[in-house]
Each structure stands twice: as structure tokens, then as C-alpha cells.
Amino acid sequence: MKNFHALGLGTLTALGLAAMSILPAAAEWKPTKPVEFIVPAGTGGGADQMARTLQGIIAKHELMSTQLIVINKSGGAGGEGFLDVKNNKGNPHKIVITLSNLFTTPLATGIPFNWKDMTPVAMLALDEFVLWVNASEPYKTAQEYTAAIKAAPDGTFKMGGTGSKQEDQIITVAFEKAVGKKMTYIPYKGGGEVAVQLVGGHINSSVNNPIEAVSQWRGDKLRPLCVFDEKTLPYTDKILGDLSWSSVPTCKSAGVDVEYLMLRGIFMPPGVTDEQVAYFVDLFKKVRETPEWKQLMKDGAFNQTFMAGAEFKDWLTKAEATHKGLMQEAGFIAAAN
């Protein structure tokens, strides 16, 4: 912990110098009152944790002249939060953090909003998904697990996940397609609960995000089988014995060709100026340089891609199309769409 603080101080000084050098460019627009930071999910979940970490980092390093206030608006699978941003046209003192419900909620529920109704600011990171089983199960690899699923009748194996018709169930449907057998999907309220249900043996597997299940892995209660990404994760810190995130193979290499990453991005209400967007892009660039952020990325084995501007919009357009395709195939689209 002490080393951590010393490191923090050093970086802080470096950061201060760096901040001064870019100051003139960013000084054109500044928030004049506290900025609301909307979390379209409940307290304690992945998006909420990230928002509160951001709030802490920004307060600790004094990166903003006014306060940042985190507000949870989780109603209607996050629809409440996104509608609030959409309806606050031209208000630069409001930002929102996204999870996959940016795409899935309007499609599954028909709540009227779309990412184009808001102003994209930046992609902060992408969250990974990992296939987990209980450590006491005999399956050591994804191949062994899928072989067992194939050998049993449809619906024998239970997959637990967060929410319904959201990212976890989309991955499950894609996984079923790759394996060629149906599973029983059981939705829970949060990722932490899913991990514990898996430890307790009430479900057979989960697709928890790394940060939701890493402590159970460290305690040798859960075992990661494969990661739903195109390449293995870069983090080599030891977690259990000699194993690290980098030793988890990709699902593709195990014969399950499924890839899925979840957006952790920032949006503003529609109708804000380019200068106002530039201020927040700059703010989050500074956040990314802090040791606390780097630690969070490492703990959660995040994919650290950063994007803003046109590049980010292209990515969003593609991601929206992907989600629509996946959800259409799975039959998750609401009648209203």
C-alpha cells in the first residue's frame, strides 16, 4: 500500500506538469457548476464501480474545477438514465457512462432512445467476458466442458448471467449456437450474485466479467476456461499458483468461435458544443494516466482501447449493427421495433 502511495505522488507531479502544458488548449470551456455523472445501472455493479472510481480519481487529483456527482438511474434496464441524458438537450453539465444496455435496452424493451440521440465523448475501455465453472468440476478446459454439454440432453446445463436479453444472455445464445446444444439460462440481478451462485453449485457456468469473479478464482473456488476475445489477455500478474489472466486461452482456440466485448464509454446530452466535448475527452485522457486507473484496468483485466471523435462513432455504428444482428437471431427484439 505504501509503495502504491509513493507511486501516486510521483505520477501526480508528472501529471501536474503534463496538465500545465496542455492547459491553454483546454481552457476554452470549463464546467461552471457541478457535473452530474449518470450511471444507468444500480449501485455496486460494474458500471457503478467504474463511475465511482472515476469520481474518486478526479477528486483526488483535482482534475476538474467543480464537483462530479454520481447519480444512479437504473429504471427500465437503464432506460431511465439514457432518457434523462437524451432529454437534457444542450446541457454540458451532465455525462453518462454506458454498458451494453446502450444497445440492448432500446432493442429489447422498445424504450425510445439510441446512441445517436446523445453526443459520444470517448471509449474508456472494453470489458472482457470469461467462461467460468466451479473449481470442483472435472472440466479443466473449454473443450472438456463443451464435450460434456454436447453429450447431455438440451437444457441440462445451467448458465447464470446478469439480467435478461442483455450481454450475458446474448453471449449464452452465441455460445449455444457454437456448441450446438441448448442450455438453461437463469438471470440474476448482478454479476457478484452470479459468481456466488456458481461457487454454491446452483448453476454450472457463468460468463462473468473478470473483476466480478477474480477473487473467487484467487480463492480456488472458480476456474476460468476461456476468454471471449480474439486474443489472450496481456496481464501476467500471478492470480492462482502460476496462472495469470494471460494463461486463459481464447474461446475461439477452444473451438467456440464467440467474441464479445462490452463498451465502457462516456456520452453527453445532444446539442453540446465541440469545445464542451473536447473538455471531457481531455479530462478522461488525464484520468487514464493516473496510477489508480491503471490499477483498476489491471484488477479487472480490461481491454484498454481508447477512442474519441469519428473513430468512436464508427465503432458505435458497427457495434450497434452487431447487437441488432445477435439479438435478432436470438429473438430478443421487442415487438415495437
Partner: protein, 502 residues
């Protein structure tokens, strides 16, 4: 177990640092204020103050935040007793007898009993955590959806037939609650239901809005009708009230003990403090000799729910630390805090961060003692609020209620909903429909439905899942028994009634 005591002793060394003691006092005071303001609640209070703690050591930070939590638990009882407005779900059962006591001029007694019982409940739970932490955490793992549903079922069942009103009215009231709880997103299918295209209803009906309206506003309307006279006015303020009440408390040791057991059990099986408080109240009512008088200001009716709620609230910290499952929204925010301080809750926390864990457990002992002393000294002060004329205090309560309703979701629509619930509460009270089953159904309806449907998904629709293991079968069995007990006891008394003349 011996090792636990060595660790705990070491933990006391950390927690008893003067700076940490100061943080405890500050935390408790802030918490009491937060608890007194309905709607603000522990979770929001902790969330607002969380960023302030990032510069502290993790141990000091969690001491400050948990003390805010304890303070809010204590504070919730104050508004329940004085104004019939429960600040938190688990204070609802406290209003049943606490408020009638305040009305008959025994506010000081009710508050003392509530605070002392809270302390006893929390203390017993901490002792249990100290002794058998690892075992308890293992037990919590055995709770899947079917077991959870069984616990909720038991809570509902033990509630049926305990109210003075006819069972039919209780059931009607409970069903209205279930209907209200169903509004919003259906977790299992991911579809919206009963929102009728309204954006305001996306979030469903928040428990706090309903309770502030039904109890708080409804109460004000009733009092207004009865001539603007606050019936607690006659309260004599006596500085010795704490001492006098304490002398009577040991009589109720059996109630306390029973409530502690119910509370600890419900806290560990992650059902939480709310069902614990209702269940303890229901059981106390049934077992007590003065059970018939419950609801008219029986001190036992305050002791039972408060003891159980705090025993549950405290023991719920254990699954959070040992398994990383938050048992309440407040615990969820604390969990977020742990991650920011670089601590991973989970099976390894007790091994890797033993200094932190035992510092926290030691601070639970000290924090509750500091809290009890602080709140007891303020009992005469709070009780004297009732001497303010109703025409002055009513608008103040109304404003506080409105602010409280707004803070829940930062939404003006909620304030309107609160007023609507106020009128509903008034009408229900005038027509003798009990409010408690309605509230219980709003609070637990969602979770119960979710657990029920998760169980059926897992069993492919077969109800046998509720009898599949000895654990779930036992809980369901007790629940069924509790549900039909009024019928059985009725039958027994009838048989006896017939038998006697013969």
C-alpha cells in the same frame, strides 16, 4: 477459534486509535442525521461520502463508512417512533408499536427500547461473526433461488393472520402490494410491464416513496382530520427515562434472544433485515402473553423488530466480506469502496487482509458502543420534539418527506407519487385495511417473484424443486405451517370449545 481472538485483540489495537474513535463519533452523528431524513437512507449517505475517504487508509475509511451505516440504522428508529415514518424498510415493523407508544406520551421509553435493542441485536451478531465467521460464510453458499424463495415465503406466511383486521383484508392489501411491486422491468424476461408507455413508471414504485406517503403523509392527513392535535403532546420529558426503561428491559430477555436468532439467521441467508424484522414481530406477537395488545403500544413490539433488524443488518456484513455478495444497497456501495481501496472481497480477504478484516470487526464492537452512548444521550432531546405544536411540525414533516421522496431518484414525479400514496394510505386506514402487508409485499414482492421464477427455470417448471433438499424442504414446511396456523389454532380452540361443555 483461539486464533480469531488473537486477531480480534490485534484488531482492537487498530480500531482504538484516537483518530479512528473520532471518526466513529463523526460517522455515527452523520449517520443519525441521514437516518432521520427519510429517503436519504444509508446507501445514499455512504455513497455521497465515499469519495472523501479515498485519501484515508482503508481501515479508517471503512470505520467511518460503517459507522455512518450504524448511525443511519439508529436514526431510522427515531422517525418511525415519533412520526410513523420509517426511514428504512426494516424500520416499518418498529412503527407498529413504537408510534402508538409515542402518541400515548411514552416516546422516550420507545426510543430507549429501540436503541438498546438495536445495540443488543448488533452485539450478538458481532459476537457470532467473531466466533464462527468461516463456517457461516459456507452456510450462505447453500442458498440458491429455491432456498431464497422459501425464506421469503416464510416471511409472508408468518405475517398472514397476525393483523387485527380480517384475513381477507390482509390478503387484499398484500395483493395490492404485489401488483405495485410488479410495475417496471421484469427481470426474468427483460420486458417492461404495467408501465403503460409512461417513462416515469420505468423504475416501478420505490419502496421508500410508498412508505413515506402511506405512513408519513397518511398520518398527517389523519391527524389533521382529528383536529390538528398531535397526540404525543402530553409527553413528559424526563432525563431519567433511559434509566427507568432499562430497569424494565431484562424482563423481555426471551423476546430479545428469539429475535437475535431470527435476525442472525436471516442476515446470513442473504434474505436481509426487512424480513427479519417482520418475522420477529410476528413471532413475538404470537408467543407473547400480551400478544393481543400488540399494535397499541407494547414495548415488546418495539424490542422484537429492532433487535432482529440489527442482528440481521450486522451479520449481513459477513457474506459481503467473505463472498463479495452485498446483502443491501448500502453494503453494495461499501463493496464498491473496498474495490477502490484495492481490497478484493471474497474468500481470500480474511487470509490476505486479516488486519483490515479484524480492524473492521473490532470497530463494529466499538462503533456500536459509541453509537449507543451518543443516541441515548439525545433521547430526551428527540422526545421533546413532540412538544412542538402540530401546526408547526406538520409543514416541517411535509417538507422533509418531499425532500426525502425527491432524493430517492432525483425525480419530481416521485414527490407527486408520494402525495398519491398519502391519500391511498389515508383511505386504507379509514376503511381498516392494514398497511403493513402492502408494504411487505412492495419490499419483498420483487425478490420473491425473482427467486420463484429462477427456481422454476432451473427445475424446468417442476414445483418439486421446493422439496428437493432437506434445507429448502424444512424452510418451506415451517412456512406452510406458519401460513395455516391461524386455521389450526382456530380449529383447536373450537374442538376445545366443543369438548368443554361435553
Amino acid at each position: 477459534m483461539f486464533e480469531n481472538f488473537v486477531n480480534l485483540w490485534h484488531g482492537f489495537g487498530i480500531a482504538a486509535d484516537p483518530f479512528n474513535i473520532l471518526l466513529m463519533a463523526v460517522g455515527i452523528l452523520l449517520g443519525v442525521i441521514i437516518g432521520v431524513l427519510p429517503g436519504l437512507g444509508g446507501a445514499n449517505g455512504v455513497a455521497i461520502l465515499l469519495p472523501l475517504t479515498f485519501s484515508m487508509s482503508p481501515t479508517s475509511a471503512i470505520i467511518l463508512l460503517t459507522c455512518i451505516y450504524w448511525g443511519a440504522l439508529f436514526g431510522g428508529a427515531i422517525t418511525s417512533v415519533l412520526f410513523n415514518i420509517p426511514g428504512e424498510p426494516w424500520s416499518v415493523a418498529t412503527t407498529f408499536d413504537g408510534h402508538p407508544m409515542a402518541r400515548s406520551g411514552r416516546a422516550g421509553e420507545a426510543l430507549t427500547a429501540a436503541f438498546t435493542s438495536s445495540f443488543v441485536g448488533a452485539f450478538v451478531a458481532i459476537v457470532m461473526i467473531t466466533m464462527i465467521a468461516p463456517l457461516v460464510a459456507q452456510f450462505a453458499l447453500r442458498f440458491g433461488p429455491a432456498e431464497k424463495f422459501a425464506v421469503y415465503f416464510l416471511a409472508f406466511a408468518s405475517f398472514v393472520g397476525m393483523s387485527k383486521e380480517p384475513p381477507a383484508k390482509t390478503v387484499v392489501s398484500m395483493m395490492i402490494g404485489f401488483a405495485l411491486a410488479a410495475v417496471g422491468l421484469d427481470m426474468v424476461t427483460g420486458q417492461l410491464r404495467l408501465t403503460f408507455g409512461s417513462e416515469e413508471l420505468l423504475n416501478g414504485f420505490d419502496f421508500l416513496i410508498a412508505v413515506i406517503g402511506l405512513f408519513g403523509i397518511g398520518e398527517i392527513l389523519l391527524t389533521m382530520e382529528e383536529g390538528l392535535e398531535f397526540r404525543g403532546k402530553a409527553a413528559k420529558i424526563d432525563a431519567k427515562v433511559v434509566w427507568h426503561t432499562w430497569k424494565t428491559l431484562p424482563k423481555y430477555w426471551a423476546t430479545s434472544l428469539r429475535s437475535c436468532v431470527i435476525g442472525c439467521w436471516m442476515g446470513i441467508t442473504p434474505a436481509g433485515a426487512t424480513p427479519a424484522s417482520f418475522m420477529a414481530y410476528g413471532v413475538a406477537k404470537r408467543v407473547s402473553k400480551t400478544g393481543k395488545n400488540f399494535g397499541n403500544g407494547e414495548i415488546e413490539g418495539v424490542i422484537a423488530p429492532e433487535t432482529a433488524a440489527h442482528a440481521a443488518g450486522t451479520s449481513a456484513m459477513l457474506p459481503m466480506l467473505a463472498l463479495g455478495v452485498p446483502g443491501s444497497p448500502t453494503a453494495a456501495v461499501l463493496l464498491g469502496g473496498l474495490l477502490i481501496w484495492g481490497l478484493q472481497p471474497g474468500p481470500m480477504l480474511f487470509v490476505e487482509q486479516s488486519e483490515f478484516v479484524w480492524g473492521l470487526i473490532a470497530s463494529m464492537y466499538l462503533g456500536n458502543i459509541v453509537g449507543l452512548i451518543l443516541v441515548l444521550t439525545t433521547v430526551p432531546l428527540f422526545a421533546s420534539i413532540l412538544r412542538i405544536p402540530f401546526s408547526i411540525i406538520a409543514p416541517v414533516i411535509l417538507v422533509i418527506c418531499a425532500i426525502g421522496a425527491y432524493t430517492v431518484n432525483n425525480n419530481v414525479f416521485d414527490v407527486v407519487m408520494m402525495l398519491v400514496f398519502g391519500v391511498i394510505g389515508y383511505v386504507l386506514k379509514k376503511t381498516n385495511y392494514p398497511l403493513a402487508p402492502l408494504v411487505l409485499a412492495i419490499v419483498l414482492g420483487d425478490s420473491a417473484e425473482e427467486a420463484f421464477r429462477q427456481s422454476l427455470l432451473g427445475s424446468a417448471g417442476s414445483l418439486s424443486v421446493f422439496w428437493s433438499t432437506p434445507l429448502v424442504a424444512t424452510i418451506m414446511g415451517i412456512g406452510l405451517l406458519a401460513g395455516v396456523w391461524p386455521l389450526i389454532s382456530n380449529l383447536i380452540s373450537r374442538v376445545r370449545g366443543v369438548a368443554q361443555p361435553a
